[in-house]
Symmetry: C2
Subunit: 429 residues, 2 copies
């Protein structure tokens, strides 16, 4: 008999083969060499071989991987009671009251779901119900979720998803490539709906325009667009699944940057630091009009464990001043990236807000040609060197730099040093 | 200054008032006097006043409220790592392999979501994508979930939800009121689609027909219906969100009762004993055909914590032989109910499978007039006496008796004694 030893790398390869046998083939893995993390702490992930990775990607574990306050809240409530919203429980009420304090007074009601997809889908149902319209305006490379209705509103999923003519696409407010296009396309979308006899139900966008490429509209642009949509009878739904909960630094919610108060605000990803909770905040009159006609019950939505998890996250964001941290370290990150742009021609544009940063790679600054292959190389080389990022946008050439909110200046420095070396290496290939 | 003391009852009233201010007005509470539980253990819930309630309703906490094995699994993995399926992790692979052992060999792939709604919505997307059809056949009082697409397939939500003509309603296999109607209506639905040029995508039903009123089709009826639908180009999606995971006693899945192998099987509620996890099991060829054209990523779906929770539930079901318990105690429950029917004219019919029992109340056995008001009275009086049940069906006159699977003979005896007394009391009013 021979003794067979399996190296850690083989263990990952074996796990990958087993995974491919049992999971639906739609499942994808990040990186040319998939990551196999087994432990997380703060801004660090540790793989099966004990190697540590600086996490500059995961916005879900926003208060840091395995934050003890959140872990404790989940463990404690799980051991005590986990039921549903058809019974009275203090956890949902305490959390709802506390969360709503973070919103303008008009936004005074909460409904809870398990995922951002469920929140956006519910927003859509409410908007269509109360306006009587069907038309929805979304950005050209939007992503809003995985349900049948949201896939239609998520052109970034590709051409495999067909959409009805009641979905109108607008340009994201991309002031690097096409300033002014955003407002012009909103006008065009509304005109098209009028011509086709489609009543608008909503304008829906991610307030940081993440999948489109991370953009900041000019002052007043969003308010103008929202006004036009409201004049035409539609609502404004702010998708805060990615920018919400302090990430943009300037405010708790991304819509505050745009000086508008939405009608409905969907929340998700970082809400429970990875525990599946999401929700919809809105004007009570809208919820009441919907609730009068339609019964809505989400079995897991608003259960005591999920509410305790989300409440712990909210408290940590405040106590550790993570919004302020996002503002400051995000500023340092962008300054650092702009400095790198001085000697790396690949870095065409640096933008974003707080700890949601986009860095656009171009192979030619004059023509702004998207450097898509280089972005793939940068992302994978960074991973080899122990730093996790990703890329976004229609051409996949915009580095997505979006760490947990406990990312500090020292982490930003390590990230920038690594990126500096990797940009040099990739440019020389 | 006067000292103000608040009684526990007032505390619940105050909590209710606070709840109504902050939660969307669509939220409903069970019972004329809402329940305010603060602790759960096994088949028991304890309210804020320390009173205990026998839980004969909650199918989500299926291995018992706060089962230590599930609580531990959640607490341990939460403290270690919680990420997503774009990284390799053993928990999802171990769970998927183990879960798929419980299915016929044809059903060889798993996709994970957070809720049964997401699972059914994904099933629908896949069915429409691979068949090229849009038509869906559901029962007349079906409930399949809360998304825009599923609300259309859930007529039990009421007339506030409009549906397209590609949704066709069939009669549930109700052999108490209308034997034979099920198959005839499937034929009629398919004929209607042919006449309207609608291609069928799927036949979708809950294999225990819960919202319709808890029914058991005659042998061969379901197989015949599925054959007709497949001949017309559609798939059969088994909604196992309620009957799955051993509840029906005879088998792990409700579809086994009907001697058919579905194309897709949606799972949910009891899967994580209250932790938000759900999923879709199906033929790998279907997932592959969908995955080739459409990108699907569910942020929280299949995260390590959810997988550990669900894996713990699966192990407990096996180790504590809960399917066998459901078979035996369900049998005792139905025998006991049939004995009660000897001297309670209200009890018109007793049916179900395992620990999913329906008891239909009629004010007149000859005409089978639904005793809807009496059902409300029975449910509320039972609650006053410390036993939790609910009612279902279009007329709300069918008692829904559906306890955690750790419900034993002694609990069945307590339930039956209480129901006996309550039926006497309600009949005398």
């Amino acid at each position: 008999m021979t003794e067979v030893t399996t190296s850690p790398v083989n263990a990952s390869a074996e796990l990958l083969a087993r995974r491919q046998r049992v999971l639906g083939q739609g499942y994808r893995l990040f990186y040319q060499e998939p990551l196999h993390p087994v432990r997380g702490e703060g801004v660090w992930l540790f793989d099966a071989q004990g190697k540590r990775y600086l996490d500059v990607y995961n916005n879900v574990a926003s208060v840091g991987h395995c934050h003890p306050a959140v872990v404790d809240a989940i463990a404690r409530q799980s051991a005590q009671l986990n039921t549903h919203t058809r019974y009275l429980h203090h956890a949902i009420v305490d959390f709802a009251e506390d969360l709503l304090r973070e919103f303008p007074a008009d936004l005074d009601n909460l409904m809870l779901t398990c995922t951002g997809s469920e929140a956006n889908d519910l927003a859509l149902r409410i908007a269509r119900h109360v306006t009587g319209g069907t038309g929805v305006i979304v950005t050209r490379w939007a992503y809003h979720g995985v349900t049948s209705a949201l896939a239609e509103l998520s052109p970034s999923l590709g051409d495999g998803v067909t959409r009805g003519n009641y979905v109108k696409l607008i340009d994201a407010p991309d002031n690097y490539r096409q300033p002014g296009a955003f407002l012009a396309s909103v006008q065009a979308a509304l005109a098209e709906m009028r011509a086709e006899g489609i009543r608008p139900a909503a304008l829906l966008f991610d307030t940081i325009f993440s999948s489109d490429g991370v953009f900041s509209p000019l002052a007043g642009e969003v308010a103008q667009a929202v006004q036009w949509v409201r004049d035409a009878g539609g609502l404004f739904i702010a998708d805060e699944v990615q920018p919400g909960f302090g990430r943009t630094g300037e405010a708790m919610w991304g819509f505050a940057r745009h000086q508008v108060v939405p009608d409905l605000v969907s929340l998700g990803k970082p809400m429970g630091n990875g525990h599946p909770i999401a929700g919809l905040v809105g004007k009570s009159a809208l919820f009441a009009a919907f609730g009068r006609d339609v019964s809505y019950f989400n079995t897991f939505g608003g259960n005591p464990v999920s509410c305790q998890a989300a409440h712990a996250v909210l408290r940590v964001i405040r106590e550790e001043q993570l919004q302020q941290n996002a503002l400051w370290v995000g500023h340092c990150l962008r300054e650092g990236l702009q400095a790198l742009a001085q000697h790396h021609a690949l870095l065409g544009d640096v933008r974003g807000s707080g700890l949601f940063v986009g860095a656009e790679l171009v192979s030619d600054r004059e023509n702004k040609t998207p450097a898509s292959a280089e972005a793939v190389a940068v992302v994978n080389t960074m991973r080899q060197r122990g730093v996790l990022i990703s890329a976004t946008g229609p051409a996949g050439n915009i580095l997505k730099i979006r760490p947990p909110l406990v990312f500090r200046e020292e982490h930003a420095a390590l990230f920038l040093d690594t990126l500096d070396a990797v940009l040099t290496e990739v440019a020389q290939r």
